[in-house]
C-alpha cells in the first residue's frame, strides 16, 4: 500500500499504532477522520456522550457480543495529532484480537486501513506538524542510538525549526537593513545606515556559520555509526574484533588473508549502537575475490565513524591515510614500538584494550554530537548553500557600494532561506523596518 495514492484522501482511516508483529499486553488501535463520536458509539456498549480528552472504559460489541474491553480516548478536531477527529482504543494486545477488532470496526464504521505514515501525513497536511518535525518523527521511530533518539526528539519538538526561524529573522533584518539604506537613507543618515547594515550582516553570518558547522558532519556517520578495523592481512584485525565482542566470531588463523570480505557485528557502547566492521586486509593481490574485499574496505573506510588501523610491528609499514587510532600488534615478537599520533602502541595482549578503545570511541562520539549536528540531508544542503552564498556576498559587499546589486544578490540567498522555511515578503521586510528602526521625516 503506497501513501502517495491517498494524498488527497479524506476517508476515515484505522490502524494499530503499536505494531502488529508480536503479542503485547496492550495495543493501541487508532481511528482518524471526520467521523463523529455518535457514529463510534454504535459499536460500543457505552451509553451517554463521549467527551474529548476523557478516558472511558468501554466494551466493543458486534451484534450484542462483546469483542473486547478497551479504554477509549477521543480527541476532537482540530486538537488532535492529525487535526481530525481521532479515537484511540487501548485494547488487549493479542494480535488475533487486534486483527479481529480492526476488521470489525472497519466494516461497522466504514473505515479504511491506513497506508504506512498516513496519520503523520495528515498531521502534516493539516499543518499540525512541520516537515522537519515529520523528519524528526521518522528519526525518532528508527533511532539506533541515544543521539539519534535525541536529535529526532529535537526535530519533533521543533527545536531545529526554532533555529531556522532565527536564521530567517536575522535574514529579514538584513534585508530590512538594505531597504533602510535604500529608501530611508536620508532619515537614518549615511553612517548610521551603514553601521546597521554591517551589524545585521555580521549577526546573520555568525548564525549561519554556526549552523554550517553543525552541518559539517556526515549525518549517516552519526545515525548509523561504525567502527572499522583496517590493516594488512594478518595484522590482527579479527583478533581485535573478537576481543571487542568478547566472543569468537571472526575466523582467526595464522595464515595471512583469511578474512576475505568484511564481517560486521553490533556493539553497544554507552547506549549507542555501533557497527563493528572487520575488513579484508588492505594489500594488493591477484586473487579477484580478495581484490573485491580490498575495494570494499576502502569504501567502508570513507564512511566509517571511527577508523582503527592495525600494524604488525614486525613489518616495516608506514601509516597511510587518516585514522583515529593506530595499534601496533605482535609486539611480543618484536620490541620495536614506533611512536605515532593516536597510537596506543599496545599489543593486543593488553588486558584492558577493549575498554580503552570503547572509551575513545565514546569520547569522539560525544564530542561530535555535543553540537547537535544536523541529521537530515535536506537541512544540511540548504544550510551549506546559504553559508557559501553568504561568504560570496561578503566579498561582493567589499567590492561594490551599488545597493541594488547587493540587494539582488541577497535575493538569491533568500531562495534558499525560504527553502528552509516559509516566505519573506516585502511586507515582512517593511514591517520589520517600521518596528525596529526610527525612520521618517
Amino acid at each position: 500500500m503506497d501513501l502517495s495514492q491517498y494524498y488527497d484522501s479524506s476517508d476515515a482511516i484505522i490502524a494499530c499504532s503499536t505494531g502488529e508483529l508480536e503479542n503485547t499486553a496492550i495495543s493501541v488501535v487508532r481511528i482518524s477522520g471526520s467521523i463523529g463520536p455518535e457514529s463510534v458509539q454504535t459499536v460500543l456498549s457505552k451509553s451517554g456522550s463521549i467527551e474529548p480528552k476523557v478516558a472511558y472504559v468501554v466494551e466493543i460489541i458486534k451484534e450484542n457480543e462483546v469483542l473486547d474491553e478497551a479504554v477509549l480516548t477521543y480527541f476532537k478536531a482540530p486538537n488532535s495529532y492529525t487535526g481530525e477527529n481521532v479515537y484511540e482504543f487501548a485494547v488487549h494486545g493479542n494480535q488475533i484480537n487486534v486483527k479481529r477488532l480492526i476488521s470489525h470496526l472497519s466494516d461497522a464504521l466504514n473505515l479504511r486501513k491506513s497506508a504506512p505514515g498516513e496519520f503523520t501525513y495528515r498531521a502534516l497536511r493539516n499543518k499540525k506538524i512541520s516537515l522537519s518535525q515529520v523528519e524528526g518523527l521518522d528519526q525518532l521511530l528508527n533511532a539506533k542510538s541515544v543521539f539519534a533518539l535525541d536529535s529526532g526528539m529535537g526535530l519533533l519538538k521543533g527545536e531545529l525549526q526554532k533555529e531556522f526561524l532565527k536564521l530567517k529573522n536575522l535574514f529579514t533584518d538584513l534585508k530590512s537593513a538594505v531597504e533602510l539604506n535604500t529608501d530611508f537613507s536620508e532619515d537614518v543618515g549615511e553612517e548610521a545606515g551603514k553601521k546597521i547594515f554591517n551589524d545585521k550582516f555580521n549577526e546573520f553570518l555568525s548564525h549561519i556559520t554556526l549552523l554550517n558547522r553543525r552541518g559539517s558532519i556526515e549525518p549517516e556517520m552519526l545515525l548509523k555509526p561504525s567502527i572499522g578495523l583496517f590493516g594488512r592481512p594478518n595484522a590482527g584485525k579479527s583478533t581485535l574484533f573478537n576481543k571487542l565482542l568478547t566472543r569468537e566470531r571472526s575466523i582467526v588463523s595464522e595464515q595471512a588473508g583469511t578474512t576475505r570480505d568484511y564481517i560486521s557485528e553490533t556493539l553497544m557502547i554507552n547506549n549507542n549502537q555501533f557497527e563493528l566492521i572487520d575488513t579484508a586486509g588492505l594489500r594488493s593481490s591477484n586473487d579477484s575475490i580478495e581484490m573485491e574485499g580490498v575495494k570494499r574496505a576502502e569504501e567502508i573506510r570513507k564512511n566509517c565513524f571511527y577508523k582503527i588501523l592495525l600494524i604488525n610491528s614486525e613489518e616495516d609499514e608506514k601509516v597511510d591515510g587518516e585514522y583515529d587510532l593506530v595499534i601496533y600488534t605482535h609486539t611480543d615478537k618484536n620490541n620495536r614500538v614506533p611512536e605515532g599520533d593516536g597510537s596506543i602502541g599496545a599489543n593486543l595482549l593488553v588486558d584492558n584494550i577493549s575498554e580503552q578503545i570503547m572509551g575513545r570511541v565514546s569520547k569522539k562520539f560525544d564530542e561530535l554530537t555535543k553540537n547537535k549536528p544536523f541529521t537530515v540531508p535536506r537541512h544540511r544542503e540548504a544550510i551549506k548553500n546559504i553559508y557559501e552564498m553568504s561568504c560570496n556576498f561578503e566579498d561582493l559587499c567589499s567590492q561594490t557600494s551599488d545597493i541594488a546589486v547587493i540587494s539582488s544578490e541577497l535575493g538569491s540567498i533568500e531562495v534558499y532561506v525560504n527553502e528552509l522555511l516559509g516566505q519573506v515578503s516585502t511586507d515582512d521586510v517593511l514591517k520589520n523596518i517600521f518596528n525596529n528602526f526610527c525612520i521618517g521625516k
Partner: protein, 615 residues
C-alpha cells in the same frame, strides 16, 4: 452644460487627468473648490524623492505635467542615494510652492478644450449613461468623472484640542462620500496625515545649521528641458537636529497630543511619523533630523521637515525653540493633523475605474496614497483611460515589471490599505531595471499606444533611435591593446594585460569604472554628439546588463508562478485554505497567484497550498 470628462479636484492627480483629457481632445472641465490653489503643496514643498523621482520621470515621459512644473519652480536640486549605485538614485527638487501653483493654474487654463470651474460639488449621480454633477451654482452633465479630492473627503483638522472641519488649513471640507455619491464603499478606517508648523524665515539663525546647497549636477525632470539649466534662482536648504530637551517637552505633553489621547482615530503612515510618534515610539532616541526647507523665493515661510505635529500651539512653540537655529523662530502657521475618508481601492479596476460604476474613476490621496507624485501618476492613468475608453480604444496601464506607476496601481487594486500608501523602491521587484535614467525607454511603448502624434512622441522616437545607435556602437567597438591617448581610467595598461580584445560594452561593465564617464569620454574622442539622457542610459544599461539578466531569470521563475491563473471557486471551497484567508481572497478576487500573494495577512501555509496547487 455637457462635457466628455469632468475632473473634480485640482490637485496633482486632478491636473494630470485634465491634461490627458485635453491631449485626447476631450471637452474637459476641472471642478475645483473656490479658494484652493491649483496643484498646491500643502505638505513638503518638494517633488521627487526615492522611488518618487522615478514616478515623476515616468509621468514626464508619458506626456504629463509634473516634471515640467517642478522644473519651472525648482529652487534646490538633489540626487538622493548618489553613492548607492544608479538603480536607486532619485531626483528631488524643492519647489517654490507659490510659483508651482501659479504655473500650474496658467498651464491648465491654457490647455485646449479645458475649462477650469471654481465651484464646490454637492452631489453626483448617474442617469441614463450620463453623470450629473451638481455644484453650488448649477448642474453639469458628463460622460466620465474622475474624483481627485485628496484629503477633502469628510476632512477634519486637529491642532491641540481644537478640531475644525476642512481638507486643510483655511479651507472647508467636501461632503462625505456617501452624501456625494451613494453606494461607494469607503474604508472603515479613516486615514490621518500631518504637517509641521511653518516658520518665519527672517527669524531663523542659519549659522547654526548645516547648509545643503542646490546640486548643479542634478538633471532637470522634464526631458525636453536642457539638463542643467535652472529656471529660477537657486536657494539653500539647511539641516539641524532635535535634542533631549526638544523630545522631553514633547513627551511631557503626551496627554495633550490628539494622536495619543484618543482624539484622532485615523491611521497615520508609519514612514511619515509625526514628531510625537518619534518621541513616544523611540523613547531612547532624542536626535532626529530637521530639514529646514524654504517654501519659495518670495514666500516668508520655511518648512521644517521632520517635526510634523498636532500638539497645542504653546507646546509647538516651546519645543521648536529648543532646536539649534530655531531658538527665536516665529511660527506663522501652526502644525496640524488632518483625518479623512479613503476609498476602498479593491473596488477599482486597473484603470482606477469603479468596477460597479463604469465611467467613474478615483485617483490620488482619496485612494489612500500619500505624496504628490503617487497622486500625479494615478491621475494620469485615470485620465488617460477615461479618454481611451471614450474613443473605444484598449486601456493602457503600465505594468509593475517596468514602472513604479504599475507597481503602485497593482498594489492599490489588489490590497486594502491599513495605512497611507507610499512608493518605496522596495515595493518593486525589478528595481535594477526600473530606474530614473531609462524612463523614456520604459514609457515609450505605452506612449506609442496612446496613438497621439505630438511633439513629445517625436522627441521620444528620436531618443530611442539614438539609443539603438549608441548601443550598437557599444556592442561592436572593440579595443585591443590600446584605449585612447590621454585617457584617465588606467585602461591603456589594463588592455595590454588582457589576452583578448574587449568590446566597449565589456569595458563599461568593469567594476571600478564609472560607465557614464567612460562612455562620454569615448564619444567625445570619436566626435559623436548625443543626447545627454541617451548617453547616460546607454552607459548605465551596459553596466547592469548582466545583473538585470540574472534578476530576470530569478524573476521569470517567480513570474511563472505569479502569472498562474487561479481557480477561485476551487480555492474558496478548499479545506486546506483557512477560513480567514478565504475571506480575504474572496474580497479581492485575484486573477493570478501574483495578485493573491500580495493580499495582506494571508498565511504562509495557505500560500504554499495554493502555490503548489494542492487546494
Amino acid at each position: 452644460m455637457e462635457y466628455d470628462l469632468i475632473v473634480i479636484g485640482g490637485g496633482h492627480a486632478g491636473i494630470e487627468a485634465v491634461n490627458m483629457g485635453s491631449s485626447f481632445g476631450l471637452k474637459t472641465a476641472l471642478l475645483t473648490m473656490p479658494g484652493v490653489g491649483i496643484a498646491s503643496a500643502p505638505c513638503n514643498p518638494c517633488v521627487g524623492g526615492v522611488g518618487k523621482g522615478q514616478v515623476v520621470r515616468e509621468i514626464d515621459a508619458l506626456g504629463g505635467l509634473m516634471g515640467k512644473l517642478a522644473d519651472m519652480s525648482g529652487i534646490q536640486y538633489r540626487i538622493l542615494n548618489e553613492s548607492k549605485g544608479f538603480a536607486v538614485q532619485s531626483t528631488r527638487v524643492q519647489i517654490d510652492k507659490q510659483l508651482y501653483s501659479n504655473n500650474a493654474e496658467k498651464l491648465v487654463s491654457s490647455l485646449p478644450h479645458v475649462s477650469v470651474i471654481k465651484e464646490k460639488v454637492n452631489k453626483i449621480w448617474k442617469e441614463s449613461e450620463l453623470f450629473h454633477v451638481e455644484t453650488s451654482a448649477r448642474t453639469y452633465r458628463t460622460k466620465k468623472v474622475i474624483l481627485t479630492v485628496g484629503t477633502f473627503l469628510n476632512g477634519k483638522l486637529h491642532c491641540g484640542d481644537k478640531t475644525t472641519l476642512g481638507g486643510r488649513e483655511g479651507t472647508e471640507s467636501s461632503l462625505k462620500m456617501q452624501e456625494l455619491f451613494e453606494g461607494i464603499r469607503v474604508l472603515p478606517q479613516r486615514f490621518k496625515t500631518g504637517t509641521p508648523a511653518r516658520l518665519d524665515r527672517a527669524t531663523i539663525n542659519y549659522e547654526k545649521m548645516e547648509k545643503q546647497p542646490s546640486d548643479g549636477r542634478t538633471r532637470n525632470f522634464h526631458y525636453q528641458n536642457s539638463p542643467f539649466t535652472r529656471h529660477v534662482e537657486q536657494l539653500n536648504c539647511y539641516l539641524t537636529y532635535t535634542n533631549e530637551q526638544t523630545m522631553g517637552i514633547i513627551r511631557d505633553n503626551k496627554e495633550k497630543s490628539p494622536m495619543f489621547n484618543g482624539q484622532i482615530q485615523g491611521m497615520g503612515a508609519r514612514y511619515c511619523p509625526s514628531i510625537e510618534d518619534k518621541a513616544y515610539r523611540y523613547p531612547d532616541k532624542n536626535i532626529h533630523h530637521v530639514f529646514v526647507e524654504p517654501e519659495g523665493i518670495d514666500l516668508e515661510t520655511v518648512y521644517p521637515s521632520g517635526i510634523s505635529s498636532s500638539l497645542p500651539k504653546e507646546a509647538q512653540e516651546e519645543f521648536i525653540a529648543t532646536i539649534p537655529g530655531l531658538e527665536k523662530a516665529k511660527i506663522i502657521q501652526y502644525g496640524y493633523a488632518v483625518e479623512y475618508d479613503v476609498v476602498d481601492t479593491t473596488q477599482l479596476d486597473n484603470t482606477l475605474m469603479l468596477k460597479s460604476c463604469p465611467g467613474l474613476y478615483f485617483a490620488g490621496q482619496i485612494n489612500g496614497t500619500s505624496g504628490y507624485e503617487e497622486a500625479g501618476g494615478q491621475g494620469l492613468v485615470a485620465g488617460l483611460n477615461a479618454a481611451l475608453s471614450l474613443s473605444g480604444k484598449e486601456p493602457v496601464v503600465p505594468r509593475r515589471t517596468n514602472s513604479y506607476i504599475g507597481v503602485m496601481i497593482e498594489d492599490l487594486i489588489t490590497n486594502t490599505r491599513d495605512e497611507p500608501y507610499r512608493l518605496f523602491t522596495a515595493r518593486a521587484e525589478n528595481r535594477l531595471y526600473i530606474r530614473e535614467d531609462n524612463s523614456f525607454i520604459r514609457m515609450h511603448p505605452y506612449r506609442t499606444n496612446f496613438g497621439l502624434n505630438q511633439p513629445i512622441d517625436r522627441h521620444l522616437e528620436n531618443m530611442i533611435s539614438q539609443f539603438k545607435l549608441i548601443n550598437k556602437l557599444i556592442e561592436k567597438t572593440e579595443f585591443n591593446n590600446y584605449f585612447y591617448e590621454g585617457e584617465r581610467f588606467g585602461l591603456n595598461e589594463f588592455l595590454v594585460s588582457q589576452e583578448r580584445k574587449l568590446t566597449l560594452g565589456e569595458i563599461l561593465k568593469l567594476a571600478w569604472l564609472d560607465p557614464v564617464d567612460v562612455l562620454s569620454f569615448v564619444l567625445e574622442k570619436e566626435k559623436i554628439s548625443v543626447n545627454w539622457d541617451v548617453l547616460n542610459t546607454c552607459a548605465i544599461s551596459a553596466k547592469y546588463e548582466g545583473y538585470i539578466e540574472r534578476a530576470n531569470q530569478q524573476y521569470m521563475k517567480m513570474a511563472k508562478l505569479d502569472t498562474k491563473k487561479l481557480d477561485l471557486p476551487l480555492i474558496l471551497a478548499s479545506d486546506n485554505v483557512s477560513f480567514e484567508c478565504k475571506r480575504r481572497i474572496e474580497k479581492i478576487s485575484p486573477e493570478t497567484f501574483g495578485q493573491l500573494k500580495r493580499i495582506n495577512g494571508l498565511r504562509a501555509a495557505s500560500l504554499a497550498v495554493i502555490a503548489s496547487g494542492a487546494y
